[in-house]
Every structure is written in C-alpha cells, then in structure tokens.
C-alpha cells in the first residue's frame, strides 16, 4: 500500500493503527511533516477511550478540551484519510516498504450523503442495551450483614435523596465502607458504583479502608491550632507510632485531624469517640492512650 523510498525524502505514506488520542496525534504530526497518512480505527468513530472520559490524570484537565481540536484538525487535514470500522488483516514487506491489507466493515450509512440529522438514532427501536445491570452477578453478603444493610436501605430508600442517609447509617455501623456492602447498595438502589464511590470518598467522615475502634480526632481548627494542637498531633503520632489518617495494627486507634469540633472555648481539644478532652497538654497524652488501651472501655470526660 505504501511505496518504499529514501528516508531523507518525505515521500510515500504512513499507516497509523488506532484512532485514539495517541493515534490521532501521531497522524497529525506525520501529516504536518508532509506525509500522507491513513488512520485506521476499528470503531465507527475515532476518539477512543479519551472521548468517554471527563478528566484526565494527573492534571485533571478536561478530556474533551484536549481532544476536540485534534478531531477537527484531522477531519480538515488534506493528507489524512480516516478509515473507520476498519481492521488490519495482514502486514507484508519490510521497514520502508510495507503492504498492508485492511478489512472494512459495512457502515450501512452512506457517509457522503448523511447530514448527521440523527433521525435514524431516534427511530431505531433497539436502545439502551449496553451492559444491563443484571449482567453483573448479584453481590452476596453474609446473612447478618445483609439483614443489617437491608434494614438501613429499607429505612431510607423511599425518601428523596436516599444515598447520604444510607451511607451515614452504614458508616455508623462499620466505621468504614466495606467494598461488597457498597456494591450491594449500588445494586439495590440502582445507583452506579462509581457514583457511590465518588460520594463516599468526598467526605472527611467517611472512609473506604477499615478504621480503628477509637478514632482520635485532633482538632485542627484555627483556635486549637494557634493554641498548639499541632504538637498534640505530633505527640499522638509519636506515641502510637502512626501518622495522621493511619490506624494502629491492633485496630484500636485511628488518628485523624479534624476541622473544628466547635469546642473553641476548650482549645486545644481532642475528641475520642464522644468524649472531648479540652485544654489538653502533651503531657496528658500517654495517660489517655493507656486508659483506652488498658480498659478498652469508655473514658471519662476530662476537666481542664
């Protein structure tokens, strides 16, 4: 399909296989260098995976904004020929002199006449077939877990906006979200798992990794901060040998920085479970930890 030639001269043609963002860019670069390009894509349209993305890693840039100008440029470029619904069947020859055999499937639409009005799409009786929910096997939970989760779902499912109350109740039971519970909720409510995860990872009070029995919330509000809560955090961290947001191996404590628990009058303050320790000094920390470790029961409130 292409002729061989001297490498220094810009002659002959190139074939790019795959019309994703990488293929598109390659095609554009080659074409801009003066080479005739055949861009082969097996799907009905070029664009690839990126056309389905909202944002891209790591810069969080808008996917469409990156891609759309390239789509236009390819469509307009006189040296690029786009071959959609086409697959590579055979490659023969050697570097510089290839023969490629392609197979093109029928589109059933005459591209030269189509105006893109969309009537055919609107009138086609077959729709919404991609991956129906019931094709995913139902999640199996342990009977007692399922009973508990079912109860939570039943309590909230009929009110508008049930997701948050359900997640909050589950969090209250488990202290975090076990993955299969979230999958189960997703199937029960018919809400995509990705959406649930997006909500579940947004809030500070939620976690998708297991947390300790006692969550040590060190208040990092402004008042506590100016009164030295950072040093409390360091001392907790040193004593428990974990960093903030981590959990001790015995699953007893999770250390967490929290944004203002509204006890500014008692700054610096730390909340463990429902107990607030106000006007805390670093000296008292080992004792507090010992109390929880030793008794493993609930601590007494503390007077400043």
């Amino acid at each position: 399909m292409s002729n061989g030639g001297e490498r220094r001269e810009k002659v002959g043609a190139a074939l790019v296989v795959g019309g994703g963002i990488g293929g598109m860019q390659a095609a554009l670069d080659l074409a801009d260098a003066g080479i005739k390009v055949y861009l082969v894509e097996s799907k009905p349209a070029i664009g690839g995976v990126m056309s389905q993305l909202d944002k891209t890693f790591p810069t969080n840039d808008c996917a469409m904004c990156t891609m759309a100008p390239r789509l236009v440029a390819i469509g307009r470029h006189k040296d690029i020929e786009v071959l959609t619904l086409t697959e590579v069947e055979r490659i023969e020859g050697e570097p510089g002199n290839f023969t490629v055999t392609l197979r093109r499937r029928a589109r059933f639409v005459d591209e030269n006449v189509c105006t893109g009005c969309g009537s055919c799409v609107a009138n086609c009786p077959v729709r919404f077939i991609p991956q129906p929910l019931d094709s995913i096997p139902p999640v199996k939970l342990a009977p007692e877990v399922q009973a508990r989760v079912d109860q939570i779902i039943a309590e909230h499912r009929n009110r508008p906006g049930p997701l948050m109350p359900i997640l909050q109740s589950i969090n209250a039971v488990y202290n975090y979200f076990p993955e299969d519970v979230l999958r189960y909720v997703s199937q029960q409510l018919g809400i995509p798992l990705t959406h649930i995860l997006r909500v579940a990872t947004f809030y500070n009070a939620f976690s998708i990794v297991p947390r300790g029995k006692y969550i040590i919330n060190v208040c990092m509000g402004t008042t506590c901060y100016v009164r030295g809560s950072e040093r409390l955090m360091e001392r907790f961290s040193d004593t428990l040998k974990i960093k903030p947001e981590e959990t001790t191996p015995d699953m007893l404590f999770t250390l967490k920085a929290v944004r203002c628990i509204g006890c500014c009058g008692l700054a610096p303050a730390v909340m463990i479970g429902d107990t607030v320790y106000g006007k805390l000094t670093v000296k008292e920390i080992p004792g507090i930890i010992k109390k929880f470790q030793g008794a493993n029961g609930h601590g007494q409130a503390h007077t400043g």
């Binding site: 997701l163 948050m164 969090n171 901060y225 100016v226 040193d238 006890c263 009058g265 007077t303």
Partner: protein, 629 residues
C-alpha cells in the same frame, strides 16, 4: 408545678458538657436531695450560656449569680452555703484577671454587659428540650401573628424593611432572596436552614441549635409561609451530635403541638421539616454544594445563576438561610422592622454573634450590635489578652476571611468595613492572635485547610491552593526566595478571579491580608531566615540559659527525643542535632526558672557540657525568692 425559690440554670452546651456539666448536675442533684431541697430548687439544663471559657458554669436565678469553673468537689459546699443558707460563694464567682474582687452578678460581668441579645435572647434562660419554656418567652407568637394577620407579601416587605442580611457570611439581603423565590412560578418550593458551620473557630450556629432550637424552627416556618413552601430541611454538620439531637427533639415537640405539619394552628398552612446531616466537607456550606449533598450527588458547587432561589433542590425554587438569620426572623416580626433597623449601622442592621476565641481572656460567644469596634470586643468584652501579651491581629471570617491588624482596632464591625479591610464577616469567627502567633504560619494554616477542602472542580482553586501552599511552606521552612511574596500576590489574584464558588474566590484572603498588613514578617522569614513570633520550626532553636538553669531534671525527663543532657547540679544542655523542636522542655520548665528560651534568626550560643549550676549568693536567685515568698 410547685413554687420554687431557686432555679439553677446549668449550661449544657457542648463546651460545658465536655467540661463535665452532666457530672456536676448529678452531684448537684445528690446534694440538693441530701439537704431535702428538691421541692424548693430545680435544675434547668440550658443551652450554651456563651461564656465558654468559664465552663462548666451555672447561673442562679432569680438573683442571677454567676458561678464558673465548677468542679464536682465544690458542689457540696455551694449547695450548703448558697442554696441552703443563702450566702453566695465568692470563690466560685467570676474574677477578672486585673481585679481582686469577684463579680457576683451575671449582668455586671463585662463579658455580658456590652452584649445585646436578639438571636441569643433565650440562651441560658430556657431548657432547650422543653417547648413550653420557649413558648413562655413569646415563642411562636411571631408565627401566630404571621399566620393570622399578615399576607406572605407583607412578611417579605417587613423583612426587607428591617434590613436583615444573611448571617452566613456574604450578607445578601434576606427579604430580597425570599421575594425572588416567591416570584418563581414553579412549585413546590423549599426552605433550607444551613447549619453546615465549617469555619474553624466559629460555633454560633451550633450554639443556637443547642440552646434555642425552636427559634430556628419558628423562623424557618415563617420563611416557608412567606415564600410558599411546604417542606424544609435543616442541614447540620455531623460533628454536632448534640445539636442534631436537640433539634430532632424540638421538631418532634413542635409536630406534637401542631406547630409543624398539616394545618398549623388550624390556619390551613402546612409545613414540615427534616434534618439532614453533613459528613464533614467544608465546601458543603456553599449553597449549591449543600443542595447536591442533600440530593445525594457528589457535593461540588455549580455555577450561579440560576440561584437556588430560582432553581434549587430537586430543581425547585429554594431559599437557603443561615441559622442565625432564621433565628432573627421571629424577633423582627414580633418587634417590628422599624425597631430592628434602628440597631446597627447604615448598611448592616441588627446584631451579630461572634465566637471570640484564641488568645483572649474571656473566651465565648457574644452577640453585639453591628458597628461595635474591635477594641470594645477585645478589651471590654474579651477582657484583653492573657498574660498581658501584645494584641497582634484578629482573624475574622474563617478560611475565607483575613487578618485584621492591631492598627485597625477602632474599626467598626459591619459587612462593608470588614470587606474593605480585606477580610469578611463570614459566619462570625473571631480568632484573637497575640505576638506569639506567626502570620505566615497562620496563612499557611488556612491554605492547608482550603487546599484540603477544595472539591477539585476548578483548576485555579485546586492547583492554585496547592501552589500557594508550596510557596508558603517553603517560606516557613526558611527556604523562601526573593520574589516569593510577589508571586503569592499574583497567584492569589488569579485564584480570586478564576474560581467559581465562594470557597475559591475567597481562599486567598488570608494570604493577601497577611501580606498587606504583615509584609515585614514575610520578609524576615525570606531574607533573615527569622521567624519573629518564634513559631516556624525550621527557623527556631530551643536553648537552655545556663545562668537560669537549676538542673531540676524535669525537662530532661520529659524530652521525648532524649535530646537533653544533664544531671543533678549540672546545667542541662539541648543537643540541637537531636532536638525535634516539640517545645515540651519550654512547657515543663518551672515558670520560676524560665530557663528554656526560643531563639530565632541568631546562632545558638554554645554551652559547655558539665557546667555546675550557679546559685549566686549575693543576689537571691529566683528560686529562693519564690520559696521564701
């Protein structure tokens, strides 16, 4: 109910509960029973009294005697002396640091004297879990008036005339918001009460819900009548379990009395309320984000307009008001717009609650008329700075606000003046800072906060805050470069211009105001590698003054890094290479020695190891002075 002679108004706000208010209550009950006074004395658990720095506290009615810093062991004496024998106990009364004599009466304590209670009218006077207490203090009288004698338009007109502006921070006129919502043809309509009080250092909304939940219910019901809504939500932070509990109880009581639900008071108007909890996301205080959160969507804000008053929750017109705003409404209806508009300044009417916290003697919640000066708040109500330190700045408006320097202490506080000073009203946090606070560090703290809490939708906010943080961290680490300040300023303005919601457009304020008023501190960090307030760890060193060290071994024992050398009679020395700068030594060094010092921007003077402790004979050492005194 039997006649009683004494009522004990025991504060059971979150602060006092954390301080042990319920244990105090138990001992009080036991002691009162022991003296057989149950029929004469009753204990009323109230919401937050406001003077949180004195908690746990109680006020004795009818004399209005204030007792603070109560301990369970004081109670038997208190009950016997005061409640039985009628002799008020002086040692439990409030004594300001500069005075010797205690002030017995609540109304004479400067902290309370200058305040003007409108929103907090019932604080410490009613039991928040008893609807009858609220009703007795003209509760639901405004609702009654509205439902029987005013049209919705008249209600809106009255609120517009009063000049009430949103207390959540931005200060949008409440009446106008209601009017816009009322004029929307689409139904149903909703009223949401925003109690997602995320600003660190502000807790007035929590306090109102805890001390007077019915005032919010009444205000919200009036708002619903004015705009034509039949359903409402109260969105409360999950960090406020007590507020949620009290609100839930209040809603149930109001339903029972027919003040919520179908056909309220037989007037044909129906309205009901539901609590929704947040889950710890600062951005949810932004109204569109809050709506998304209730709807169960990912709580990112969206572009406005359309405003929620036009297109809000479930796509319907929605009024979102702050707790304080709604709690003000019944008073305006009862006492009239004219009365209300006489309080405050030209543009900002009424009162505002501030939480006065940080380096201040009298910590607590205060409600003051708009237009009061910072000086009055800090020195008269707040009682000045502890330890006679120098007042440096006050931070208002949370992470969206800025730092107002000591030079602007005579600034009258209202929406406009604060904005002009580069800060904002915000929800009313007022964090007082003294000379030991490093302003660069404070700016870094807030940017860390907003960087953490940015939802990530706008690049400027998400990445801009990260870039600000990077530069600020560099400066506080002593690696600042020339041009950093200018870069911060330029970036801050870019973030302000290009972010969508309130979080992004205001997050640079702490940086901009600290640069504006404390540029020399930034310069000291960058050029001299010195932290003037001696806060930034990389720029300070701890040092034990060999002249003052008495070799008491306390610091050596407490040092977690084992960086202190010394033994009996031998001057202690800190090994700078081991020191983690945790500050424990400074904290534990007995104040009468005061041997541990912080140094910044100067070399640590070398101290020979093994030096004997000097106890000068001629001039008495501080130790001897102290022990002989």
């Amino acid at each position: 109910m039997a006649a009683r002679r004494i009522e004990l108004m025991l504060c059971t706000g979150t602060g006092c509960v954390a301080g042990g208010a319920f244990r105090i209550k138990k001992v009080l009950e036991e002691e009162i029973a022991r003296h057989g006074l149950q029929s004469e004395i009753s204990i009323v658990p109230t919401g937050c009294n406001g003077f949180c720095g004195q908690g746990p506290l109680l006020v004795v009615m009818p004399e209005k005697i204030f007792y603070g810093w109560l301990k369970t062991e004081d109670i038997p004496f208190l009950v016997q002396e005061h409640f039985l024998k009628g002799r008020p106990v002086k040692k439990l009364m409030f004594t300001p640091p500069e005075r010797k004599e205690p002030i017995p009466l609540l109304s004479d304590i400067p902290f309370f004297k200058k305040q003007m209670l409108i929103v907090l009218r019932n604080k410490g006077i009613i039991d928040p879990e008893k609807i009858d207490d609220y009703i007795a203090r003209d509760g639901y009288a405004a609702l009654e008036k509205v439902l029987t004698s005013m049209t919705p338009e008249e209600v809106i007109e009255e609120i517009i005339k009063s000049g009430l502006r949103g207390r959540g921070g931005a200060g949008f006129p409440t009446g106008i918001k209601w009017k816009v919502c009322r004029n929307e043809p689409k139904t149903p309509k909703y009223v949401i009460c925003n109690c997602d009080e995320g600003d660190p250092g502000a807790y007035m909304d929590r306090s109102v819900l805890e001390s007077d939940p019915h005032s919010v219910i009444e205000g919200q019901t009036i708002a619903a009548y004015a705009i034509g809504a039949s359903h409402g939500y109260i969105y409360v932070r999950t960090e406020y379990p007590l507020a949620i509990k009290r609100m839930q109880k209040a809603i149930e009581q109001a339903r029972e009395y027919g003040l919520l639900g179908e056909n309220i008071l037989g007037t044909g108007f129906s309205f009901d309320l539901e609590i929704r909890e947040g889950s710890g996301a600062f951005v949810c205080g932004e109204e569109t984000s809050l709506i998304h959160s209730i709807e169960g969507k990912s709580p990112e804000p969206r572009q406005r307009p359309p405003f929620p008053a036009q297109v809000g929750i479930w796509g319907c017109p929605t009024v979102i008001n702050n707790v304080e705003t709604l709690a003000t409404v019944p008073v305006i209806i009862n006492r009239g717009a004219e009365w209300f508009s006489k309080i405050g300044t030209e543009t900002s009417k009424g009162t505002k609650i501030f939480s006065l916290v940080g380096k201040i003697n009298n910590t607590g919640l205060i409600e003051v008329p708009m237009g009061i000066t910072l000086r009055e708040i800090i020195y008269e109500i707040g009682g000045g700075i502890p330890g006679n330190r120098k007042f440096k700045a006050v931070q208002t408006g949370g992470p969206s606000g800025g730092c107002i320097p000591a030079s602007l202490i005579d600034l009258p506080i209202d929406y406009e003046s604060l904005t002009q000073a580069g800060s904002m009203m915000g929800s009313g946090g007022m964090i007082v800072m003294d000379e030991d606070t490093c302003m660069v560090d404070v700016a870094k703290f807030f940017i860390q906060f907003t960087n953490d809490e940015s939802c990530g939708k706008c690049t400027t906010c998400r990445d801009g805050s990260a870039a600000l943080l990077e530069v600020l961290t560099r400066i506080t680490d002593g690696e600042g470069q020339e041009g950093d300040i200018e870069f911060l300023e330029e970036l801050a303005w870019a973030i302000k211009d290009a972010s969508m919601c309130g979080l992004g457009t205001t997050l640079p304020n702490p940086v901009l105001t600290t640069i504006r008023y404390f540029r020399e501190e930034y310069e000291a960090h960058i050029r001299e590698k010195r932290c003037p307030a001696k806060v930034c760890k990389n720029l300070i060193a701890y040092w034990i003054d060999p002249q003052l060290c008495q070799a008491c071994l306390i610091c050596k024992r407490e040092c977690p890094a084992e960086a202190i050398y010394g033994e009996k009679h031998i001057v202690h020395v800190i090994d700078q290479s081991k020191c983690t700068k945790c500050g424990t030594c400074l904290e534990v060094c007995p104040p009468r020695f005061g041997a541990v010092k912080k140094l910044s921007g100067e070399p640590v003077p070398p101290v020979e190891r093994g030096m004997k402790v000097e106890r000068k004979k001629k001039t008495a050492t501080p130790l001897q002075e102290q022990s002989s005194a």
